[in-house]
C-alpha cells in the first residue's frame, strides 16, 4: 500500500551529536547549528510537539538547553541513563499518542536500532537528516490551525496541571473545583471548522462512531437548518485548552440525534464528555425531545460506550428512532431525557440550545 504515512505528532530528539554538536559531558561546551535551530522553531510552529531522550545528567543538559534558548520548545524531557525505547514509550504514553505518530532522531545507529526493535511503529531518523525534516511529508501537517501553533503551550500547561494534581491530597473532585474550569459550548463558525475537523482526527479513542467527518462535510452542515455543529472549548486557571470537543446534532421533531461526539484526550480526566452529555440531556428535556446517539464499536472507543451508558442511554426501541437513518453497522442508543443539575466541578456557558440568543451560564 502506498498510503501517505501518518503525520508525526511528536519528534523525540537525542541531544549529543544530534541536536547539538559534540558531547556535553566530554566537550563541556556544545553549540547548536542554525539549521537545526530553524527545524525546531518551524516544527513547533507547525504544531509538531518535540521531546528529548538523552543520556546525560538531567540538570546539566536542561540548563544547557535553557542557555541556548531552546528549552521552552520541548515537552517531557527524558534525560537519564535508561534505554531510549523506554523513554520514547513513556513520552507516547504521557501524551496519549499512538506510537505510529512518534518519530525519533539520533546520531547513533545502535540507539535507533534499539528503539526500532522494541517499538517498530516509531519512525527513526539519523542525525544527518535533521535539516531535511521540514521537507518531508510526515512533518508537514496539511493545515496548520491556531490551536496547532499553540499546542505545545497547551501541553506544557497540561503537565503543570498534572504536577499540581500529584501534589494535591484531596479528592479528585475538589482538585477539579480548584482549577476554576469553564466550559463554553457554542455553534461553530466557519473558521472554527478546521480546528474541529482536526480534533476528530486526533481523538479516535473518544469518537463514538469511528466515522471521520471531513472539513467539507462538517462545513456543509453549517448551512443545514436541521443540523447543529457545536464547538466546545475550555479554560482553567492555568490557561486555555482551546477547542476540546465537537458535537454534530441532527434535529427532528421528536428527537435530537448525536451523530458525532468527540472530545480531546486532554480533557477526558475533567469529565468533559460527561458534562457535555449532561448539558445536552438537560437541553433536550427542556425542548421536550428524546435523545438518540450513534454508536459503532471500535477497538478503541469502549470509553465512549461507557460514557453513553452511564448517561442513561440504552438500546431501547422507540418510535422516535424512525426519524433517522444511521449508516449500516451503527446502532442508535436512546434516552428519554429528564432535567439535569449543572455540574459542581465547572461552569458551563452555552447558547440557548438551538435558538439564536445571547449565551448564558447553565445554572
Amino acid at each position: 500500500m502506498s498510503e501517505t504515512p501518518p503525520v508525526v505528532k511528536c519528534l523525540v530528539w537525542d541531544l549529543d551529536n544530534t541536536l547539538w554538536n559534540g558531547t556535553l559531558v566530554e566537550d563541556g561546551h556544545v553549540e547548536v547549528d542554525d539549521a537545526v535551530r530553524k527545524v525546531i522553531v518551524e516544527l513547533d510552529a507547525r504544531g509538531v510537539l518535540q521531546a528529548v531522550s538523552s543520556r546525560n545528567d538531567h540538570d546539566e543538559a536542561w540548563a544547557r538547553l535553557e542557555e541556548l534558548g531552546l528549552a521552552e520548545y520541548f515537552v517531557l524531557p527524558h534525560i537519564g541513563w535508561g534505554p531510549k525505547s523506554e523513554s520514547v514509550r513513556r513520552i507516547a504514553e504521557q501524551l496519549n499518542f499512538s506510537l505510529k505518530t512518534i518519530a525519533f532522531i539520533d546520531d547513533l545507529p545502535t540507539e535507533r536500532a534499539e528503539v526500532e526493535y522494541h517499538l517498530p511503529e516509531v519512525r527513526c531518523y539519523p542525525a544527518e537528516q535533521a535539516d531535511a525534516l521540514l521537507g518531508l511529508p510526515e512533518f508537514s501537517p496539511p493545515v496548520v490551525t491556531v490551536d496547532a501553533r499553540r499546542r505545545r503551550q497547551m501541553y506544557q500547561a497540561g503537565f503543570e496541571r498534572d504536577q499540581e494534581r500529584e501534589k494535591y491530597q484531596g479528592a479528585d473532585e475538589e482538585f477539579l473545583r480548584s482549577l476554576d474550569l469553564v466550559m463554553r459550548i457554542g455553534k461553530a463558525r466557519d473558521e472554527e471548522i478546521t480546528r474541529v475537523e482536526e480534533l476528530t482526527l486526533r481523538t479516535s479513542q473518544m469518537n463514538a462512531t469511528g466515522v471521520h467527518y471531513s472539513d467539507a462535510a462538517l462545513r456543509s452542515f453549517l448551512s443545514e437548518e436541521n443540523h447543529d455543529v457545536l464547538v466546545v472549548s475550555m479554560t482553567d486557571r492555568f490557561g486555555p485548552h482551546g477547542a476540546v470537543g465537537v458535537m454534530l446534532i441532527e434535529k427532528a421533531a421528536r428527537a435530537w440525534r448525536i451523530k458525532l461526539l468527540a472530545t480531546s484526550c486532554r480533557v477526558v480526566s475533567f469529565g468533559a464528555g460527561a458534562v457535555l452529555l449532561r448539558w445536552l440531556t438537560d437541553a433536550a428535556a427542556r425542548a421536550g425531545v428524546h435523545l438518540v446517539a450513534d454508536f459503532r464499536r471500535t477497538e478503541r472507543n469502549r470509553m465512549m460506550e461507557v460514557a453513553y451508558r452511564f448517561a442513561g442511554f440504552t438500546t431501547a426501541q422507540c418510535p422516535c428512532l424512525t426519524s433517522f437513518s444511521p449508516p449500516e453497522g451503527t446502532e442508535c442508543l436512546h434516552l428519554e431525557p429528564v432535567r439535569q443539575d449543572p455540574p459542581t466541578t465547572m461552569r458551563v456557558i452555552t447558547p440557548e440550545p438551538h435558538v439564536a440568543g445571547p449565551e448564558a451560564e447553565w445554572l
Partner: protein
C-alpha cells in the same frame, strides 16, 4: 473451576472495591454513598471502574449492565459482581 476469586463473599468484594476507590480518590467510601453525586464523573473514572470490576472479579459487564446505577455505590458494585459471577441475567 477453582481460582482465588471463586469463594468471594460480599464482604470480600466490598473490601476490594473499597480499597480501589480509596487508592483512586484518597477518600474512604461507605458502602451506600453515591460516587456520582457531583454530577461530573469523568468517563475516564467510569471506564476505570468498569475495567477494575471486570479484571478483578473476572466478569464481563456489557449491555444494560453497563449502567451508572450498577456502579453508583460500593454495594451496588458488589451486587453486580455477585450476580454476574453466579451466572445471573446479564443485559443484551
Amino acid at each position: 473451576m477453582t481460582d482465588s476469586t471463586t469463594d468471594l463473599t460480599v464482604a470480600d468484594i466490598e473490601q476490594r472495591v473499597g480499597e480501589f476507590l480509596e487508592a483512586k480518590t484518597r477518600m474512604t467510601w461507605e458502602p451506600e454513598v453515591d460516587l456520582f453525586a457531583s454530577g461530573a464523573v469523568s468517563s475516564l473514572f467510569a471506564m476505570e471502574l468498569v475495567v477494575f470490576v471486570e479484571s478483578t472479579f473476572g466478569v464481563a459487564v456489557e449491555g444494560t449492565d453497563l449502567a451508572m446505577d450498577n456502579f453508583r455505590t460500593v454495594r451496588t458494585m458488589s451486587s453486580l459482581v455477585t450476580r454476574l459471577r453466579t451466572g445471573g441475567d446479564g443485559g443484551a
